[in-house]
Symmetry: C2
Subunit: 322 residues, 2 copies
């Protein structure tokens, strides 16, 4: 009897693989360093071996697995399973990841954007439970998103809906990786936060130790959070600015989609009140009056959202459940 899903979450730094029950509880997981595999095919072979070992350690045979879901940190044509764009991991564009995994596993595979997977996970098992129309934002190296409409994942006409990170918040601004200009990602993506933090530190005296550190992009939000906790004024101001920028983007999304809830996840969401308070304040002053009391909540599934959502993608593929 089929009782399990395999979930795979391919990120710029780590690729995770997990075995999940049909209630989407993780009963085993492993992690591989994405960039140490020289080609997509090698990564896929390694992931498949890891999945095989996880199944074996639990005495689960492949015949007991419903299917495999893959969330990827980029644009994916969910129908064909082809990676359209993967900015932070070179060598994957045009690769048919669905077909490659299907060969390895002999099981049906569903691949989609990782923010779509996260939105599914939060909607069915996390902070989006009980909603109908929800918008999820993930704040990380990139700013991503997923949209649930009428209780179903909304993918758009070319499998690339939900790109909240690429909503412009100014007429003029920095060029974005997507080819656009002044997208919210160029304000709130980790690389940009790192740049702004460096700028802020240069402009003032004090905390010379901080300025001296090499500032890795994904360390920036944490550093900024620690500084804000210490009461550092520049850090607090920078969070205010970032929150206001995300808030303006969300005000537009809320006016457009009128969702019942906005779920915010990803690394910098851990900044808690430093981030959520200016976001909420901005939405309350910039969204249309009738929509200002919308719930803006933190994602609940944390780092497991990717695996849970990937497994849900597999269920979606099999049963058209969502």
């Amino acid at each position: 009897m089929k009782k399990y899903y395999i979930g795979i979450d391919i990120g710029g730094t780590y690729t995770k693989v997990g075995v999940l029950t049909k209630a989407f509880d993780i009963i085993g997981k492993a992690s591989l360093p994405t960039s140490s595999y020289k080609s997509p095919q090698r990564l896929i072979s390694a992931v498949s071996r890891a999945a095989g070992l996880l199944l074996k350690s639990r005495n689960i045979t492949k015949t007991a697995v419903y299917g495999v879901g893959v969330g990827i940190a980029g644009l994916v044509d969910a129908e064909k399973g082809v990676i359209k764009n993967l900015i932070n991991i070179p060598g994957y564009r045009g690769f048919n990841i669905k077909r490659a995994f299907e060969k390895e596993f002999g099981l049906s595979v569903c691949a989609d954007n990782d923010a779509n997977a996260m939105a599914l996970a939060e909607f069915h098992k996390g902070a989006g439970r009980g909603g109908t129309n929800i918008v999820c934002v993930t704040l990380g190296t990139g700013v991503g998103g997923g949209i649930i409409i009428g209780g179903r994942l909304y993918r758009g006409s070319t499998s690339s809906a939900g790109e909240l990170g690429h909503i412009p918040i100014n007429m003029k601004g920095q060029r974005c990786n997507c080819g656009g200009t002044a997208c919210i990602e160029t304000y709130a993506g980790n690389n940009y936060i790192a740049g702004r933090l460096k700028g802020a530190l240069k402009r003032r005296i004090g905390r010379p130790g901080m300025a001296a550190r090499t500032l890795a992009a994904d360390a920036a939000p944490k550093l900024l959070y620690e500084a804000a906790k210490d009461g550092d004024r520049s850090a607090l101001e920078l969070w205010e600015e970032i929150g206001a920028e995300i808030g303006v983007m969300l005000a537009g999304v809320i006016n457009l989609l009128d969702p019942d809830r906005v779920v915010i996840g990803g690394g910098i969401a851990d900044a808690g009140r430093f981030l959520f308070s200016p976001i909420k304040k901005t939405v309350r002053s910039r969204a249309m009056k009738s929509k200002r009391r919308i719930k803006i909540v933190k994602a609940r599934l944390g780092k497991d959202a990717g695996l849970v959502g990937a497994a849900m993608l597999a269920r979606l593929e099999r049963t058209k459940w969502l």
Copy 2:
């Protein structure tokens, strides 16, 4: 046998009423000056009398009418039929227009935002035909919009989705009627275009005749169009600016919703290439690369879109057709 719909389109200046066939062809219509009626109830009585006369002139009995649809230039709770906000027509907020019309007609009534009605009309009978996910923008005194998702009108969680006019395009800018700041309506709404046109005229020599005219808001786009046709540089530049601003707003909407088509209607859409060319140019440079070839087309139903869409609202109410 039921064969007809009554469509009603309540605008800031005129209220139109029409009788339509079940194929949504208009077979009779009338127009009333909205503001000359001192209360919503008086307007509704006059509209009902006009509808009665239209039916009578065609020898149609009320029993042959499926239902009544009402499109209104404001926010409407489509479920209850209550007007939530009607910025340009005072005295209507909180009024249950569905119930009032149901009393007059003894028929089921469906009321909704006029941009939602227009989106339905363009989707089923106009420039949106053949699409699946489409976004409609109406450019007039206000900037409105309607969203069709999966072939159905998307209303959102509180009946107020599709408010494209209230997407901010800058962090800072003018206060908007909606309570927000820097919404696209504060750049491309008729009143704002009139203000910008006056400003442009003040700043330069020549065309003193134009500057001297009292510039009614709804005349501004036409005047600006005529000046652009004459090759007036300030006018051409102003269209470039307005088109770029609408284009940046649309780039965000396209990245978020990944529609297969954008339909642009309303008064200033008549500016044709002066408007469409900078809009398309901006979308091609600001939207994500894979989405830049999206179809951006002019609405086809013109001033009848409101009546056609209103009748479709009635069908939607009756049959859950859409």
